[in-house]
Symmetry: C2
């Protein structure tokens, strides 16, 4: 008998029919002899509806009250899932984040989990019930209701799986798994049967939309096997597991793309110690997340520093740069939001020479100019013009042999 | 500085505009120097929407999960009211029933309050905040979320006012107060400026729709002055207070009507001790609430027992009577749902002879036949044909001098 945490996202519980389908699947899992803990998001558009309502009521939205409002969403979906389970003969009990012991810090709208005390969930399991837990929400050390921010329901599921010692955390969504590239960009993209945590981290960080970086990090740290799969087809999806040293690793598992960032260049920066540190410390102080950073070799004692930020942070980042520019005596600040990043990710890259060369050759042979480069041991990312990204992804997918069936 | 509990019902927070109006009124109350604790119901039709959704998902609705579902309603309205208050410069904090310390028994969907531990509400007040509390809901001794059933938000408000020692509990609704008769029936009906708890209990019990019996009983027991008023006109409404022995009491304050009941007659009942007890014990065991009971004087050792029940309980009550009929050797069970009850209520009735006579004369002079009679020290009720009820109310309203302005 395995203990399975099943997390269902917003589209998976989007309407009455989907909720009944979820209950049916949970009932089948139970009938197969496994114990199940269900974690649910709010129904499809309900969060948007609540935000629209808040907008009608007041331009002022204290974060504590915004959290109180939004957590009504999971409350509704979890109660409905429990009712549907009852209708399928599965006795269950729903628990809010607070009741499930999801203790967070007091940072409303993007709280972090500090501790899980899932006593009531454990008791329910011991009584033979199927607990249904609200994702995305918790209770702070000040006893106020909090939400975990984007991707929060996945984090709840993974954290609960870790705390309960679950055998697997299944993430049900509207796609069938993690793909070798975005299927909307690459028609020949393949579902990956298995990827390592490290690969998944890189995929999530470079544009893979299925899982948020945060929940993958949590799963990796607590060694919780993830299984990303579809609640529409119910077919087996992608397993995200610890790297198995005996298994042969794909050199490149996936090609990812991301056009949500912009590039900022601070030009004519005096090339002396501490200057870059000053700039990035100030950006960090203003909560601007910097992604790729490239500093050219200086000439005449001057250098250029380029980095990417989310387009939504561009205005703030420019403002910070302008302030720091005067202080450090740099010449100018420019920005460019017409960029995109294309990355290749693969755990086998570590032991395979020539990967970088093949990537650059592939892009250049198609006349795609590389503007920035960054690498990790299992990833290479290139910044190119935004309007060449899709093309770049397709060529790389072919060049690294991903068009052929693999891994299934 | 007074402490005022202000309870806003579903229509009072029915949409964004109404919620802003509520926030404006709370801000004015605060500006006048009073402390306010706000208690809110779910927005207008939101409870119906949630029930409809539940109906789409599952015919099975475990009461625990139904409570979890429905309590999302107040969560939404209380967060929105808090946001609107922030927008009006009033710092507030919303609290669920559980956070406000509303401890109930475990009888889901109609829980009773066992205890109030309003520590967090008190702390918020001490910090100068305006607490916004979810009505209708609590947490059980088993730590599960419960709802208080019909009129539950009023009960929350009154209970909280009692626990906090509030100076008044204001019940805001979509009518301007308690009337001398239903204004839809009697065009000359007047708003009452003041009624005693005893009168209000009788009015609520005999068809007055403004307050539920339960919250009036609670207010009376804990001596919490109530003020029922409109959240649309904001004018002073009706005060419900302890009887003041020095004040001259109206002989008749109000004429009420109720056509929601049906009459059951068990005929040919052996007239011996214990027979009626057997019948009503069995009805109580099956949770049938019996209202008026009349037993005719027996002839030939046989008697008839008639009583009224809610029409929704009629089928069950008939079934119980049929079972008991055989056992006690009664002749027959008949029922009639075309009845209505008209009542006059007045604290001054106790010391005014001739009231009963005037009531009967008024009805008979208009050819309205009286089928059953029941009285208390401050109320007389008559069962008449349902289609004569409106007419009866109008004639009584005139006969007892209520058409003239009084009490304002």
């Amino acid at each position: 008998m395995a203990l399975v945490v099943q997390k269902y996202g917003g589209t998976s519980v989007g309407d009455a029919e989907r909720i009944r389908a979820v209950a049916d699947h949970v009932a089948r899992t139970r009938a197969a002899g496994d114990q199940v803990v269900v974690v649910v998001s709010a129904m499809g558009k309900s969060t948007d509806d609540l935000l629209r309502l808040a907008g009608e009521v007041s331009p002022t939205r204290p974060p504590r009250e915004l959290d109180m409002l939004l957590t009504a969403g999971e409350r509704i979906s979890m109660a409905l899932v429990s009712m549907a389970l009852a209708d399928h003969g599965v006795e269950s009990a729903s628990f809010t984040g607070s009741q499930a012991g999801i203790i967070t810090d007091t940072d409303h709208t993007r709280a972090k989990i500090l501790e899980i005390r899932p006593n009531r969930v454990r008791e329910a399991l011991a009584e033979g019930l199927t607990p249904v837990v609200a994702g995305f929400q918790g209770v702070s050390t000040e006893r106020d209701i909090t939400t975990l921010g984007r991707g929060g329901s996945d984090v709840t599921a993974v954290a609960l799986a870790a705390a309960l010692g679950a055998d697997v955390c299944e993430i049900y969504t509207d796609v069938t798994g993690v793909f070798s590239a975005d299927p909307r960009v690459v028609s020949k993209a393949r579902r990956l049967a298995k990827v390592s945590f490290d690969e998944m981290l890189e995929i999530a960080a470079t544009g893979g939309r299925v899982l948020m970086l945060r929940s993958v990090e949590f799963a990796r740290r607590h060694r919780v096997p993830l299984h990303v799969r579809s609640s529409f087809t119910w077919e087996p999806g992608t397993w995200i597991v610890e790297e198995d040293p005996t298994m042969e690793e794909a050199v490149v598992s996936a090609v990812t793309d991301d056009t949500s960032e912009a590039k900022i260049t601070v030009g004519g920066v005096p090339d002396r110690p501490g200057v870059a540190a000053r700039l990035f410390r100030e950006l960090a102080n203003r909560s601007v997340n910097v992604d790729m950073i490239v500093q050219n070799t200086g000439t005449n004692g001057l250098t250029d520093i380029s980095f990417t930020v989310a387009q939504t942070d561009l205005a703030l980042a420019r403002e910070v740069c302008e302030t720091v520019r005067a202080e450090i005596g740099a010449a100018e600040v420019s920005s460019d939001s017409q960029i995109g990043r294309v990355s290749i990710v693969g755990a086998g890259m570590k032991s395979s020479p020539g990967i970088t060369a093949l990537m650059f050759e592939t892009l250049s042979s198609h006349g795609i100019n590389i503007e920035m480069i960054s690498t990790s041991s299992i990833r290479i990312s290139c910044v190119v013009r935004a309007d060449r990204v899709a093309e770049a992804v397709r060529h790389l997918h072919t060049a690294f042999g991903l068009d052929a069936v693999r891994g299934e």
